[in-house]
């Protein structure tokens, strides 16, 4: 494997800064956080999702309510609405927290995430496995432990689910090789997150891709 395909922490931070700049422009909610001793940082995003309930919903309401509410809207809704929803349809609001950290062992970014109900109860690993996108389910069920595992967050120390980074180079190398061939710069974080994010319910608006190619002249 070529040294080019791996990138260092400084490059990671640079691409994250570019990514967050665009996130701020479109209100996508990503922010940068640093460890207490400020030696390292990571990207963080929180979003809320309504999971459809198991019980029959009363006539008039839609049977499947699986919408992603931007944080501001979710917080504006009077709390009563959620409580009412819980008892009538049984659907629940889940808070997802995504962190993008740099792994010096694999020299790639890693996606950490956790999910909990509004009352703080965390979701179990099997709920996470069940909640992944249909097209990833087969592979996940064959080798669940190789794909999503639970680990200690290297900076916060709390349990998080992790998308295992050992295969990252496999799919990123062709992306980087191609971008070099067609002479178009690519934001590693944007490309990588657009591949791994959907596996765990994290989607990136298309505008990120348009921005990445516009940055061509600006990468130092």
């Amino acid at each position: 494997m070529e040294e080019d395909e791996f990138f260092g922490e400084k490059t990671f931070q640079h691409f994250c800064a570019e990514f967050i700049k665009h996130s701020q422009e479109i209100g996508d909610g990503w922010e940068w956080r640093t460890s207490k001793d400020c030696s390292e940082g990571y990207m963080c995003k929180i979003h809320f999702q309504i999971k459809p309930g198991m019980l029959m919903s009363p006539p008039g309401t839609s049977a499947h309510v699986q919408t992603c509410l931007p944080m501001e809207e979710a917080l504006e809704l009077p709390l009563d609405d959620f409580e009412k929803t819980e008892t009538t349809t049984g659907s629940k609001v889940i808070k997802y927290e995504y962190h993008v950290l740099y792994s010096c062992s694999y020299q790639v970014p890693v996606l950490y995430f956790r999910a909990s109900f509004l009352d703080g109860r965390p979701l179990a690993l099997k709920d996470i496995w069940e909640g992944t996108h249909e097209c990833y389910k087969t592979r996940l069920l064959q080798e669940p432990w190789d794909t999503i595992t639970q680990q200690e967050h290297p900076i916060l120390g709390q349990p998080f689910f992790v998308l295992h980074p050992c295969k990252t180079n496999e799919f990123m190398t062709p992306v980087l090789k191609n971008s070099r061939k067609i002479n178009r710069s690519v934001n590693y974080i944007t490309s990588w997150l657009s591949v791994v994010g959907p596996v765990v319910g994290l989607n990136l608006p298309l505008s990120y891709a348009r921005t990445a190619s516009q940055d061509e002249g600006n990468v130092n």
Partner: protein
């Protein structure tokens, strides 16, 4: 924690006499703070994940990836069933390095202190310097955890412990990695306050 029991003892109770008395709780599992252990498969997955990460550091994952699934299984089963020869038949390959090098690419290590919020320190560190000299345990600490070692003329404030002993700071890190690593191929190092007796 998914930490090796020896590490937990060094870090939290090294001054206690053996046997180590612990309290086991059966209620109110602190989901937010600790990793749950749902099955033996979870432990195997965690162990293999550590071994793979160690090999990513030592050999850019070449050795572990060249092995077959049955070799990975043998490593785990050797550990699980306390079969030294079975374990080392595979593990010795993870401890080799090319003849032209003087050691691994980077050393897999984690440094633990109870006084910090961060769970451990893990950074890239080469076992051999540019001039070919072998880096020592002292070199590692000076670089990634300088507060752990006392200044030249100062009083010794901490113990640097691996497997319950304090190796000399002059010990080459490459040697420590080959001979004092835990089964997961990491050097788990505890920095604990010097006991005052």
């Amino acid at each position: 924690m998914h930490y090796p029991i020896g590490l937990l003892f060094d870090l939290l109770a090294s001054s206690s006499a053996l046997p180590w008395n612990i309290t086991v709780h059966f209620k109110s599992f602190p989901e937010k703070d600790l990793l749950h252990c749902p099955s033996k498969d979870a432990i195997e997955a965690h162990f293999m994940s550590c071994v793979k990460e160690a090999d990513a550091l030592k050999h850019k994952s070449q050795v572990i990836n060249e092995m077959q699934k049955k070799d990975h299984k043998q490593l785990w089963m050797g550990l699980q069933n306390d079969r030294f020869d079975q374990f080392w038949a595979i593990n010795r390959k993870l401890m080799e390095y090319p003849a032209e090098e003087n050691g691994f690419r980077y050393i897999p290590f984690r440094i633990y202190q109870t006084t910090t919020e961060r769970p451990f320190i893990q950074k890239l560190f080469r076992p051999v310097a540019a001039d070919g000299q072998l880096h020592t345990l002292g070199d590692l600490l000076k670089e990634v955890c300088p507060s752990a070692i006392a200044p030249e003329d100062g009083e010794k404030k901490n113990q640097v412990m691996i497997h319950g002993i304090e190796p000399m700071l002059e010990t080459p890190l490459q040697w420590l990695s080959e001979h004092l690593s835990y089964p997961d191929n990491f050097l788990h190092i505890s920095i604990i306050p010097q006991p005052t007796d």
